[in-house]
Symmetry: C2
Subunit: 337 residues, 2 copies
């Protein structure tokens, strides 16, 4: 990593590998920035949207009732993030959005350069330095069968960073279940590589997780393999190597970052089938998404995962993941003016 | 039927069975009312919505961007219709909406009596005499995991009658395909008896239908059986008897009406597995939904269904279906004031 986090300025690469201090430094840096955001009087500190050419406070942002994105969930979306004032892998997210749109025969009604500028302006106007940024492209007001004759709709929004697992909670890891009441929608029905908001299976998973005193619902594919959860990919660590499902899942940008970091650190990693059974014998488990990063799972179906603590490989990847947010290869600074 | 359509007033039961005249009478009555609607100057003739206690023209109706009904398609809905000024099976639709809400742990934020009154007022204020009425209940502004702590959202809208198959086109029947690129989302992933707007599989089906020069996409279940299409159930007629899929489909109110009418007319009918193969050997096929009624399918995968014409049982059910809209057992008149 070219630029370590400011809180680690002057730290050696060895210190990057010292687990406690790094996890704690990232947390301390974030909490300090959050305190500043909450104490500051910025009018858009809770979020801002871009709708039909206008910037509007998030709480007032509205979309047409008749948008097919609502009436048929006929849409795709993507979520890049901003960390400590730097946009992370923005073009990778925009590339994936392009690919999702192509598969759904949607067209983003704005050229890439303008879209990029508008996103940066949206974030800058919000003043939010740790931000969750969402782009949604919907079919628009007309039915899919008329798709060639009209413009699709684009909605943009920024909110403070969204944590699938609270950052502080990541220090001890989360409780997950493998769902019994619901399987993941198979790729033959809906293509999970097209990022979509048709989360009926995940909603059932969350309800089951609540019923079973847990938080994270990991969905099987109906054929004995695990797939993913609501918005995140799953990794298992066994004998020092990573495995993550190759089929029936989103091609996550965070998953890709993890795989790139693992390669750089010499940790073997494979995409393939990940049997549910293997989760019960894993040395470490983690889930990952832009909305939360690398999130350790330390309890599965009521039992500890191995020793029930955040494992060493998860911790190394966790630290490398947040350090990567300062790497100019992956990120650039937003000018907040 | 207690009250035949006005255009058939004085007609004998025998004449109800005379196919041409009845199909033509329903069409003529509808087209006359449509001409009146379009010529009339009613300000809401293209539709009206009820949002947060206010009636607003449909084209101006907007919902919060942050509604989980949009951001996760975390919602259910139902669609009763009004035909020739009469609400059809309204309480059956509201009962099903209650059941869908219970399964998703949603609460309609309005008591049944007030909801009924509001719907009637919405239709009356629109002046639309042949109307598609939609009720949508969303999770609201907060994530499903917080479902016990807040109110869900309710949106109501009325538009002119929506035709899955144009009424005039029903005289000759529609062209359908069995999809090859997509299967129906299985009930183990999303419960199809909870009426939902997660139509990604149907959207894929429509795109395939367009690629193959067809209109209606019938989705298989991945195990050799047919399920349903976007918003409609499927019936096959063979040797004088009806079969419709029992599993992996919506429990349609129109399907139920068809089954009730078939029972009254002595036509045998069964719910069960309906193999895709059986469709190619059927004597008649039809699809059915509130947005279109009983819609004959006369071409499947480029080949005629039997003789390629609307069959006699489909025709009998079609006529009985529209006649039932005047039966006080099923419908009541809206007072348009």
């Amino acid at each position: 990593m070219n630029e370590p986090p400011p809180s680690l300025a002057g730290a050696s690469l060895d210190s990057l590998a010292a687990p406690r201090s790094t996890m704690e430094s990232v947390l301390a840096g974030y909490e300090a920035r959050e305190a500043e955001r909450l104490a500051g009087g910025h009018p858009n500190r809770e979020g801002l949207a871009w709708i039909e050419g206008a910037f509007v406070p998030l709480a007032e942002a509205r979309i047409p009732l008749m948008d097919q994105g609502f009436l048929r969930s006929d849409l795709t979306y993507d979520v890049p993030a901003v960390w400590d004032g730097r946009f992370f892998r923005l073009d990778d997210h925009l590339d994936r959005l392009d690919a999702s749109c192509a598969k759904l025969r949607l067209r983003i009604p704005m050229a890439r350069a303008e879209l990029r500028e508008t996103l940066v302006e949206l974030v800058a106007r919000s003043g939010i330095r740790d931000a969750y940024v969402e782009l949604i492209v919907t079919r628009g007001l007309k039915f899919v069968r008329e798709y060639e004759s009209y413009e699709n709709h684009l909605y943009l929004l920024v909110t403070p960073y969204v944590w699938t697992m609270p950052l502080r909670g990541q220090m001890r890891g989360g409780r997950a279940i493998v769902t019994r009441t619901v399987r993941r929608t198979p790729p033959g029905a809906m293509d999970p590589t097209v990022k979509n908001l048709q989360w009926g299976d995940f909603v059932r998973g969350w309800l089951e997780a609540m019923d079973r005193g847990s938080v994270y619902a990991l969905l099987p594919d109906g054929d004995g393999n695990i797939t993913e959860g609501g918005g995140y990919n799953i990794f298992a660590v066994k004998d020092g190597a990573l495995t993550t499902p190759s089929r029936g899942v989103l091609e996550g940008v965070t998953r890709r970052t993890v795989l790139e970091l693992a390669a750089a650190m010499g940790i073997p990693a494979a995409l393939g089938f990940l049997p549910v059974e293997a989760l019960y014998h894993a040395d470490e488990l983690f889930i990952c998404t832009t909305a939360g990063g690398v999130m350790p799972i330390t309890q599965l179906d009521g039992q500890p995962v191995a020793a029930g603590e955040v494992g060493p490989i998860t911790r190394k990847l966790w630290e490398a993941y947040w350090a990567a947010h300062y790497d100019p290869k992956y990120s650039f600074a937003v000018d907040y003016g």
